[in-house]
């Protein structure tokens, strides 16, 4: 590994690069799916290759190959240099990098049980047990699956970094469908498990089989439920719903590359413009504290070092409701750090493959639970103070505009709240809001007893599109007077 890295770094230097790094990575993914009483698609994937990134006269060049040998490393490094040179004409602000500590280190996701050492039979048995429980409880159909992912990464740079990391993630999932043959309607309810940056122990600890049965029961109930009356209502949202709302309405808008226009052509920009730093009241001062954290235990984006070779850290994004910090990467600190008044390295650089160009990706972004002095505060306390509202569990349909203002989110299970009580299930529910108003209407955050991580295995950004795995933690939350729409239609 070191010898291959030396070839890349030396070739880059000799061809005029002021900086170079190489990532030599092996990716493993195992997946297994089942529908009803049988397993389908047992699959094991492996990808191995390297990517070389060079800075020549302040211009990036990148090239990658799956042909891993000294000869190909030299060839691909030369290609990266020539790509950088081809783009010099259109560069007006040369890229600079702030100095970072030289890191020679290893890091791995702290796991108890390696998911790649769990047998196919054990995994199949789990999926079939979930499916059987759902079918017994009245599901018409049930699809379940489990992913295991490992990134075995090596990073070396002309700054003297040499970092080995082993990242592990798992994701058990199950979706139950019930068809009402009388009405011709159908609906689904997913088990609320989440992808996690852990070993197999998360899969073992989550009550998957019991919840699969509950999902079938609730799906039947949902089909027979009252269609929601639209209007302004109070919302009580579970951590399993909150993660996606946090992701879309706080995670993405506080990425500096978006705020500056680097993603304007695809993912979009942000309403959180640089002049808003330390000024924008993002949400309710008493309740809203949001952190970016790539060191968080069990987080999908958690690692020791980012793909710039920068040590990962925790940082404030929203403090007492005020926007106080962007997510950034090394080159942004050099170019924009002083003008923003924020020169802290936040280690948010990531590439999803050896063949992908590293760029700014979201760390775990979470809403801190409220300090209730040890008192357990969750949905029951919140519901007690609601006259007309909806309690939502789980994440569902999601869509948000390219500056992250207007969003519309669904859920898995919706409960009507009337006069302080959870009274019965609803269907056809989505909530639609404008981000700053929504967070301004936050008027209660639960205690840490209910804090949970949810997350996405496949968050997309960039061109060509890259995926990022990222977690978002939250306790229960309550929002006042949010626009609830009815999604029922006839065709």
């Amino acid at each position: 590994m070191q010898e291959l890295a030396a070839v890349a770094l030396e070739t880059a230097r000799s061809k005029g690069a002021s900086y170079a790094d190489i990532r030599i990575n092996r990716y493993k993914q195992q997946s297994l799916f089942a529908r009803e009483d049988h397993v389908q698609n047992a699959n094991a994937q492996e990808r191995y290759g390297f990517g070389v990134r060079v800075l020549v006269d302040g211009v990036w060049g990148f090239a990658a190959s799956m042909q891993v040998s000294k000869e190909h490393v030299a060839r691909i490094t030369a290609e990266a240099v020539s790509i950088a040179r081809a783009n010099r004409a259109t560069m007006h602000d040369p890229v600079e990098l702030v100095p970072i500590p030289k890191a020679v280190d290893t890091w791995q996701t702290p796991i108890v049980k390696d998911p790649f050492r769990v047998s196919v039979q054990t995994k199949a048995d789990l999926l079939l047990a979930m499916n059987a429980a759902a079918l017994k409880a009245g599901a018409s159909f049930v699809n379940s699956g489990v992913f295991s992912v490992a990134e075995d990464k090596y990073f070396a740079s002309t700054d003297g970094c040499a970092i080995s990391q082993l990242l592990t993630r798992v994701w058990p999932l199950c979706v139950v469908t019930v068809v009402d043959k009388g009405t011709g309607r159908f609906d689904t309810r997913a088990v609320l498990s989440s992808p996690m940056g852990t070993g197999w122990e998360y899969v073992e600890s989550y009550p998957l089989v019991a919840e699969a049965a509950q999902a079938a029961e609730q799906c039947k109930e949902k089909l027979a439920a009252k269609s929601v009356t639209p209007g302004k209502k109070d919302l009580v949202l579970s951590p399993e719903n909150m993660w996606l709302t946090i992701h879309e309405s706080i995670g993405h808008p506080t990425e500096l590359d978006r705020a500056l226009g680097y993603e304007a052509n695809f993912a979009g920009t942000s309403f959180v413009t640089p002049d808003q730093l330390n000024k924008l009241q993002y949400g309710a001062a008493k309740w809203m504290n949001v952190v970016g954290d790539k060191t968080q235990r069990d987080g999908l984006a958690t690692c020791g070092y980012d793909d710039d070779g920068v040590k990962t850290t925790q940082f404030d994004i929203v403090k007492d409701g005020r926007f106080v910090g962007y997510q950034t990467i090394r080159e942004q600190v050099a170019r924009y750090g002083k003008s923003l008044g924020d020169t802290r390295l936040k280690a948010c650089c990531y590439a999803d493959d050896y063949s992908s160009n590293p760029f700014q990706r979201m760390p775990n972004v979470s809403l801190r639970p409220h300090d209730w002095g040890g008192k357990k505060v969750g949905w029951e306390q919140m519901v007690a103070e609601v006259k007309d509202g909806v309690l939502i569990e789980g994440a569902g349909s999601f869509s948000i505009d390219q500056q992250r203002y207007n969003f519309q989110f669904g859920g898995q299970v919706f409960w009507e709240i009337k006069n302080g009580k959870k009274v019965g299930m609803l269907r056809d529910v989505a909530y639609q809001a404008r981000t700053p108003q929504f967070w301004g209407s936050l008027d209660m955050v639960g205690s840490d007893h209910f804090y949970k991580l949810g997350g996405s295995f496949f968050d997309g950004k960039g061109q060509p599109i890259q995926t990022n795995s990222v977690s978002h933690g939250s306790s229960w939350c309550r929002f006042r007077g949010v626009n609830v729409i009815n999604t029922g239609r006839k065709i």
């Binding site: 783009n87 680097y262 505009d401």
Partner: protein, 446 residues
Amino acid sequence: MSFLSDADAKRITEKVLGLATAPETVVYLNPSRGGNTRFARNEVTTSGYAETCIVLVTSRYGLRQGSAQTNQIDDGSLAEVVRRAEEIARLAPEDPETMPVLGPQTYTAAPGLFAADADQLTADFRGKIVADAIGQAKSKGLEAAGFVQNFSDADALATSRGLFVYRRTTGIVYNITARSNDGGSGWGGGVSNSVAGFEPSSMTARAMDIALKSAKPVALEPGNYTAILPAECVADLAVNLLNGFDQRGIDEGRSFLSQFQKQIAAGEKLFSEKVTLISDPASREAPGNNFDIEGLPIHRTDWVKDGVVKSIACSRYWAKKTGRQPLPAWQNLIMSGGAASIDEMVASTQRGLLVTRFWYVRPVDPHTALFTGLTRDGCFLVENGKVTRPVKNFRWNETPVKMLRNIQAMGPTRRVITSERDIASALAFPALKVTDFTFSSLSDAV
């Protein structure tokens, strides 16, 4: 990369099949190379070149099946990927839906997929497109961000029953967003399998033109409007609709088409008689793949003809179980168009909205094929046959079923990319003028 040829693919797939000990084996090989250049804030940001490969081996022991994938093609890696696939297959429980691997098949030629002029494009080729875009943006006082990508790959599939099929594909995609400092934003983009006939300068010009015209948008009340939708928007919704054309899903009662089974069987219209939607690998407008991941041939298929559903995709397993013929899902989609230009659609509209493109289209209710999404990069009010002013963007909640019933006018069919797919898009659609499109809330996003 040196193993994109027919002979190389044959050699590698034969080696894999020779290593296999399972009764049945399928090997899929997909080497590729490609480059891309991104720009934003009127300068290049990143640019790269990558060589990748997929070797996917599926092994079957009766009804037990497993697959393994690598990206390495040395002898040791090929032996290892076969060993892993067979190990997983032996350990996997029986899957009653497992179908025998296919023998030799007859395929429709898809000559438009590959073009020699797009096989080995360089950063300089992409750089010229980018330099032109940035130059134009600067001269107009706009800020441009965009992306150029080219690729060349091969797909080969071989089975232990003697099937071998191979194709080459090339592609170029370009898209650009131009923004003004007073709230204007415009977009242009396209995709092609060949350099010949690919005109990025017209896409750049469209983005700049819309950016200048959409400045200082005003808020308009949400509601149901007549909408003039460019081909990109129509494709965004129609693609999602066609994903529900699955026989098993319909039979199981979990497709939006399940409620229309009687009408489909009776040959009744579900959409406007103007709607004809087909797949055809041999299409000149948007060439499509001619075999699927099992090696099943893809021939011309009429999904909807004159508003009547004519075909529904059906897996091999479901076809066998229900006594039907298997039919692969769509790989390219072409919707027949008309002759109306956007200007003519505007001229015939009393009050409506002219849209540039959609964004973040997601399903809301699969029972009614209800989707939500937003307008982006230029939305305009049309009054009394004229575009009168730029308006702020909207969130919409609508079903493509209704869009395809409410057609008033159709433009010519052209190749498009959708809002969140680009390089793999094989889609050709017309612009549509449709009535009663549901714009449900305002978006302040530019």
